[in-house]
């Protein structure tokens, strides 16, 4: 009885609500057509063989074909190195302009510049690094002329793992700096004073108080940087012309013309990437929530 009484207004509420949902229909339709449907197509394709039948073979090959494993491994290494390097350096920069004691105007300068640099990517960024560290680049020339060192003879190469990592860092550490500066602002003065009153040294304060509080946003943002580098295509393509086979470059080649000789495997490779990106975004958001407990 009670159930019947309760369900009546609930049902009416749902019905009037149903009309309200019409207002967001265009947005959902757009998301369905241009976000969900394309992803779904790749998802279904990765479980389909040449005859259109269901198969797990593509997923299996993802873990057994050497070229594919190498591509993933290379992408993961580049992303990890630039996330770590960009993370540490970005943090030090954020530190220096927040609690580090540098004059205030430097901070707004750095924030503006980081905003620009984290958005300055793709072809122009690659060209800028060619002009800097390429075979005829400025630093290359200066090193040769003034120090007598040909950096390309010492094993350095811009069109390689090291070179691409250095280039990625240009948009990685500004992003870190932009996210970490507000987090460092969240460190309360009282914590430091309390620590000092209890006789803690500066090192003890940093290791036992500040660092544990900062750890979640630090890790979270580094995971974000990892995803940021993992999904990058244009910069790598413009810099190396496709000679460094990271995952995105391989997928690009697969779109241009079935280089894997198996469309299903191409789809599976794409889904593997989405999987890694999803994990990194989930990691970022959950660590972000954790860090809100103390900061702000």
């Amino acid at each position: 009885m009670t159930q019947a009484i309760n369900s009546k207004p609930k049902f009416a509420g749902l019905f009037s609500n149903w009309k309200n949902w019409l207002g967001v229909l265009p947005f959902f339709l757009f998301a369905f057509l241009f976000l969900l449907l394309p992803s779904l197509r790749l998802f279904v394709g990765s479980f389909t063989d040449a005859n259109g039948d269901f198969t797990l073979d593509n997923i299996f090959q993802l873990f057994t074909q050497k070229a594919i494993l190498d591509a993933y491994w290379l992408s993961i290494r580049i992303s990890a190195v630039t996330a770590l390097g960009g993370g540490v350096f970005g943090f030090l920069l954020a530190y220096s302009v927040t609690v580090g004691g540098l004059p205030k105007p430097l901070r707004s300068m750095l924030v503006t510049f980081s905003g620009v640099a984290s958005n300055f990517a793709g072809v122009p960024l690659a060209f800028a690094f060619v002009a800097t560290l390429g075979r005829t680049g400025l630093i290359t020339a200066v090193m040769k002329e003034f120090f007598g060192v040909n950096i390309y003879k010492t094993g350095f190469n811009l069109y390689s793992f090291t070179g691409l990592s250095l280039t990625y860092m240009y948009f990685q550490f500004p992003l870190m700096m932009l996210i970490m500066a507000p987090a460092l602002d969240g460190l309360k003065k009282e914590w430091r004073e309390a620590a000092e009153n209890l006789g803690a040294t500066a090192a003890q304060y940093w290791i036992r108080v500040a660092f544990p509080v900062l750890l979640p946003p630090l890790l979270g943002t580094m995971i974000l940087l990892f995803g940021n580098a993992f999904g990058a295509y244009a910069t790598a393509y413009a810099l190396t012309g496709g000679s460094l086979p990271i995952v995105t470059i391989q997928i690009g080649a697969q779109i241009r013309g079935d280089v894997l000789h198996n469309p299903g495997l191409g789809y599976a490779m794409a889904m593997g990437m989405v999987f890694i990106m999803a994990i990194s975004l989930a990691g970022y958001t959950s660590l972000q929530k954790l860090s809100e407990r103390w900061l702000r």
Binding site: F27, F171, A202
Partner: protein
Amino acid sequence: MMSRLRKFPFWSWVWFILGAVYFLLPLYSTLDFSLSMERDKISLLAYQKAFEDKEFLATFGYSTLLAVMTIIASIVLIVPTAYWIRLRLPEARRITEFITLMPFVIPAIILVFGMIRIYSSPMSIPFTDIDLIKPLTMTKFGTNVLIVAGYMVLAMPYMYRSVDTGMRTVDVRTLTEAAQSLGANWFTIITRVILPNIRSALLSGALLTFAIVVGEVIFASFLGVKAFGPYLFLLGQHRAYEPAALSFVSFLMTWAAMGLIQLFTGGQGQTAGAH
């Protein structure tokens, strides 16, 4: 006690200067290179040549047009949605926010992959051979629709967030009730009341979208349109000085866009990117 009497922040300066060098060196190198087209003197010849190229004008104009279309279409799609969710449908907030985060999970290269596979075959009525629409990738108009849709997806996280933040600062409900009591219809409310009230948020979203779209390479090259990104890439294959000049100009444009955003929002820089 020690920390009260702060000494000169030596390490802070070290990190800052190191960062500044990292930031500025590539820019300086690019500028230096772009100015050295003529032997032993500084000249703007590379800039002159780059701007005189008909292809440059055509591709840059086309990319600008795509950016404007993307911005308009995004505003038309997102503003009413965010407005409606705030006013009548708060239960749709979570799912909508989730959708706007999806572009972070699905990189542009994957999205274009799926789009090409879906829209390069004709759409037919299920179980028949009757085609409803020709493949979108086959016609010029269809390709333009696809590329603008793709750019809208890329810009969605930033556009949605800026619009939503803009609406949080104005009292949408009261404004709506006031407008309704004066007899305004929905269209009037959105265009004459809501839009003007969130214009700084719209501007910052629009500028960020512009910065993303104008140099974009992935959608443009895989959908085969003659936009600025692929043009700059090809120019880099067979020229030396002009690409450097255009790269430096791109940097200045990004700077202008970000500077304007800071001016309008007065806050932290936003960040996006099609890396």
